[in-house]
Each structure stands twice: as structure tokens, then as C-alpha cells.
Symmetry: C2
Subunit: 228 residues, 2 copies
Amino acid sequence: MATNRSYNDLCGLAHALDLIGERWALLVVRELLLGPRRYSDLRAELPGISSNILSQRLDGLVTAGTVTRRTLPPPAGSTVYELTAWGRQLEPVVLQLGHWGARSPGHPAGDHLSAVSLILSLRTNLDPTAARDDDLALELVMRRERFHAHLAHGTLTTGRGPQPHDTRAPDATVAATPMTLATLLYGPHDLDSAVTAGNATVAGDTTAAARFLTRFALPDTADVPPGR
Amino acid sequence: MATNRSYNDLCGLAHALDLIGERWALLVVRELLLGPRRYSDLRAELPGISSNILSQRLDGLVTAGTVTRRTLPPPAGSTVYELTAWGRQLEPVVLQLGHWGARSPGHPAGDHLSAVSLILSLRTNLDPTAARDDDLALELVMRRERFHAHLAHGTLTTGRGPQPHDTRAPDATVAATPMTLATLLYGPHDLDSAVTAGNATVAGDTTAAARFLTRFALPDTADVPPGR
DNA sequence: CAGCATCCCGATTGATACTG
DNA sequence: CAGTATCAATCGGGATGCTG
């Protein structure tokens, strides 16, 4: 019952849109790309989504086989939603579409940025040549949640929580909102002034943190013919 | 006026969905991937879209900068819609999402297939190792329109009309509906019986045509945990 | 006929309140 | 916390009409 309003088209694209083409669906998928989330997490990370719509989308994604609903073992006992293996294969689509959207001449309106978006943007916006000789392990803390970003020899590893199977401690820990981190990565601000302004805190090797932040850049805006 | 119902999210994905996330929008883009089309062409190739919705989507895509509206020089004089350079960069997204959708366990319901979808499916579903040693130039005719598909050394070139800058004549010409071609490529039928049944006609090297058709295969269906 | 604009109606979405 | 229930607003689909 995802929708009975199918495109009725044998094309794979049309069928994909039957499954994840409804409003909010792909943003829910985005939020799940870094691991399982609870219903209330998703609500918090997708401001603007209504409670009933989130329910409907999750239902649709579950019946489509993109997401599974799972109850965590005790003592947690909470129910979480998680991408299936097939659902995880939407990652390249999400990243490419995000990259495409970031090039839009229609300015980046909006005022919200989720932690997941910020982390995924690192994967898309890394400048591998600038980072060629780096070996930097950062811990990013956004809204109480910890993420890792490990940049070694032009390759980036990111995820929620600490770096798995990594005994090495992060070179630095930066705590800030996703918005602040975005301005540090892509915008005009630098780490020092953000710290003095009280918008970010750094622990560990501040120089390493600052260098890490310079290794990312937004793609160029596409230039399009004079509108209309 | 694409939508005043924006996600209001700085994330590139959310912005992309503001632009091409509405119903039918990405299917319109798909139909434009092989070159400019007129309004009425799009209507014919997207059965189910309402005339006013097609208008709205084209407006939205044009103001977003994804599509341009152009009047062909005389004597044609008709107006066509065409992807901008930035719009063409949606191709990998469309192909990947189509490939993802084709793996859905929810069966390929529906009864329609556009000529563009069929051609694009060739790009996604080529088996390069099977085609490693081929050098086959086919002309495909669907609903009066000609397309070329040239397979050389594991690489496929496809497009509308004849192969450009290619003096070599096609090895064979196959005329059929996109649906019939799909069953020949991916389904149970073979070229000979389709011809005898009157569903396809072949001119030129029939063996080459038949060999070409065996070089493509649908991706495996994803297996997902028992739904709900 | 191509390219929309209008009107109507059902389907989808959104805001909010409410429940186990 | 994890949703469901309700109702208003909006959107999409289909038919139809208009304009060059």
C-alpha cells in the first residue's frame, strides 16, 4: 500500500519511484545510511515531517523491502529502523543526487542541516588531491552524537560512533552543530574564530583539526542558460 | 513556482528533491536523456501523465535550470524541451536508480515501456564480458523512430537516430515495440519466433542481431528479509 | 494539432491532538 | 517513545476548452 498510484511502467526507474519517489522517502533513507535509527530520532532529524507521514513512509519502505523494523535486544528494547542490504545500495544514488543538487544555481535556501547530511557531504566533497598526504583522524560531535572521520592517503572513512577496529585515538575532537561545521568546511569561517565565538569546541590537536577542515570544498555551481 | 513546499534543508539531496522530486519530474528527465522532445512526444511517451501536470513539470524544470525550452529553426518551427548541461548530469542518477528499481522483489508490474527506457536499459544491463569480442552495429526501430546501438569490444554506444560520424552501415535493423524488444533481450522469447509471430522484423544480418540480443541481462532480484 | 489553462474530484500531505 | 486519529490544505488525474 505504498501507493496504489503506480506509474505502471516496466522501466526500472519508474518502479524505483513507485517505491521511494514519495515525498520524504529518500530523506528517510538518507538518515538511515549511517545506521539504524528510532522513530523519534528520525522525527528530530527531519524537521518538517509530520508524524503520520513518517509512519506511512516507514511502512512503505518496510513493505518494499528497503528498510527493516527491528526491536533491539534487552535492555534497550527500543524498535529501530534499518536499511536492508538492498536499501543500502541507494547510497550512491543519494550521494550523486545530493552532489547534483549542491550544484544548483537556485541557492542553498533553508536553515537546517542534519548530522547525517554533514557527514555524507564529507564523502562527496573531499578534495582527494589536497588530502593526498594527510593522515588525520577526527572525532566530530554533533548534538551529543559522535561520528568519526578518518582521512588517510586521500581516502576518507566516516561513520557514526568511534572508528571501529581502530585502536588509535583521534587526533582531535570537534564539537559543533552541523550548521557550524558546514560553515567551517565550506564557508567563510575558520575554526579559531568559531571557537572564540563559542560555536565550536576543540580538544586535541587543533592544527590537525583545522587542516582537516580545509580538505573539503563544495562543487562549483552549474551555470545554466538565462532562466525562463 | 516549482513548489513552495520546500524541504528547507541545506542538504544537497533535499534541494535536489525540491527540484526534481515531484511526481513525474524524473521520468520527464529520463525521456529527455536521448535528446530534445516536443510536448506532445512527452505526452505520448509518458502515458498517465496529465496534460496540466506535464506543463507544470516542464515549467518547474525550466525555472530550475534543468531543462531549456527552445524553438527549432524554420521550417520545423516547433518548440522542444531539452536538458541543459547540468540537467544531463542527472543521467548517472537516473541509470543507477533504474538499476536499483530493476532489482526490486516487487515484481515489474506495469504494461508500458518507453523507447528511451529500453535504450537506457541497454546501457545498464550490458554484460561486458559476454560482449568482449563483439563488434555489432544495430539499428533499432521502435514506433517509427530509429535508434542506434553499437557494441564494440565490450563498450556500448547508443542514441537516437543513426550513429553519428559513422559511415559504416548497421549490421542489422530490428523493428519492434519496446515491449517486444524487452522480451527478446531479457525475457523468454527469441528473435526468430518473434519474427514468425509478426512481432518483430529484421533486415540485414539476422545472426548478428540475435547475437546482440544475448549480450544483455537483467540484474538479479535483491533478496530482502521476509516482509513484515 | 501543439501547448497550455480551467474545473472538478479523489488521493496525498500536513498540523495537531491523542493513546498505549 | 512510538506511533494512530482526525481534519484541513494541497496536489495529481481526467475531461474539457481555449488559442495560434
